[in-house]
């Protein structure tokens, strides 16, 4: 018995270390990908000088960030100011513990996995608020306030759409949700929920066109205006890791996780399917970012409270009624 508990702990620790390494590498890769996608959309090549296809560019940038001085504004709330970047990065890592990369590749297949991810992703609001508030900068504070309002508004449709999926499977366990999509992905059964999930997830990760907390043309850099060096780097990494998490969750909830389309697995390992779909969703989020202008703050709130929440509620209701009578 004791041995089993011990092995479980080892599994968890090894998993956490791997998750940390993967999260960092993945974020570096995503930054590169973002710049490449943006570059090609804008008819320019993007980074290409450092390493093959500029792959090492973000590593060079990260090294530069590490080497920079960490400036703390004299009027800042110093403790909160230092904690905030750590606070935003750690909860994101927790998400990796429950993500179902492949049937046998889940660090910890919890029966409340879905809930855990969303519970921890809410932490990032706290970090953003702490960072924005403690900077003692008006732009940062405005960004933080906007961020909180936005995250609260978008958490609700996000969870409501997830609920309609959970209702169909009757489980909050990721592996069971993915298993249920062996033949048909839930995006085909729940197209409205899938779309609303993607929109809310974009807003949840503060990506354009919902990047209001850091709206660069209004609030300079939003909540991280005063951050420099690797503290800024952590906010940056967290944004990209967050993007990966929401895309991975979308993949497992709506796009069949490790399954190929319509039950055709084509002898390709599950992890490849999973990654392909996740990176495709990330690409879509990037593509959206480099296409649209930013929504105004009150329009964003209106969109959430007056459109997304009623629609996702109706969707949930319809799902429940249909499930009841099938």
């Amino acid at each position: 018995m004791g041995n089993e508990v011990g092995s479980e702990w080892i599994r968890l620790i090894v998993g956490a270390v791997i998750a940390l390494a993967f999260a960092s590498l993945n974020a570096l890769f995503l930054v590169w990908l973002e710049r490449k996608v943006a570059g090609h959309i804008q008819l320019r090549p993007g980074p290409k000088e450092v390493g093959p296809f500029g792959l090492l560019q973000t590593i060079a940038d990260a090294l530069k960030l590490v080497g920079k001085e960490l400036i703390t504004p004299s009027a800042a709330d110093k403790k909160l100011f230092v904690i905030a970047p750590v606070l935003i990065f750690m909860p994101v890592l927790v998400g990796f513990l429950v993500l179902p990369f492949a049937p046998e590749l889940i660090i910890r297949d919890m029966n409340l996995g879905v809930l855990l991810i969303f519970a921890f992703s809410t932490f990032s609001v706290l970090a953003i608020l702490a960072g924005g508030w403690s900077s003692n900068n008006k732009y940062a504070l405005l960004g933080a306030i906007r961020s909180v309002a936005q995250n609260v508004a978008y958490e609700i449709p996000l969870l409501l759409t997830v609920m309609s999926v959970v209702l169909m499977v009757n489980s909050l366990r990721f592996s069971e949700i993915v298993q249920a999509q062996g033949h048909i992905w839930f995006i085909f059964l729940q197209p409205v929920a899938g779309l609303i999930y993607l929109i809310s997830a974009t807003a949840e990760t503060n990506r354009a066109p919902f990047d209001i907390p850091e709206a660069e043309s209004e609030l300079v850099a939003g909540f991280h205006t005063e951050y420099s060096g690797m503290r800024f780097g952590l906010f940056f990494l967290a944004e990209y890791t967050n993007m990966f998490i929401v895309s991975a969750v979308a993949t497992s909830l709506f796009f069949g996780g490790w399954h190929g389309p319509f039950g055709f697995d084509m002898k390709i390992p599950g992890i490849v399917w999973f990654m392909l779909k996740t990176y495709f969703l990330i690409f879509v989020i990037m593509w959206v970012r480099w296409t649209f202008p930013r929504i105004r703050f009150d329009q964003l709130m209106n969109f959430s409270w007056k459109f997304m929440i009623p629609v996702s509620l109706a969707n949930l209701l319809v799902t429940a009624v249909v499930l009841k009578f099938i």
Binding site: G39, H40, I41, L43, P45, T291, F292
Partner: protein
Amino acid sequence: MSYWKEVINGGWSLVEGMRVTFRRLYRPVVTVQYPRQKVELSPAYRGHIEFVKFKETGTHKCVACGQCQRMCPSNLIKVQGIKERAKGRKVGTQYFIDFTRCSLCGLCVEVCPTKTLKFSREYELEGVSRWDGVIDLMARLGETRP
């Protein structure tokens, strides 16, 4: 009803926008990768001024009249000359410009009575001190340049 119409039309407009950017995704890049590729200079390109080397004399025709010096809006031209013989023409011996202050208006080139000034085709001008912007036109004339 008009609300739903706007939602659908709005959604469609977003899709159309994404189509525009997607089409660009696989088009060739239009930027020029500067140190590796270079753009051809326009025939009218204005670099800093330099002397024309006339074939018949093998040198410039500057007579140090000082018209360019007076016409320059930024007073950045210094020209000096000597008269070798009592009845001979004056010949320019020193011609300096402070390119850091030049606005490339071309008035000096236009005003030159002997047409011995022209625009160079230099554009990669960099230096570590402001004195690197001071150009000795007489010395440049000695150098062989295309």
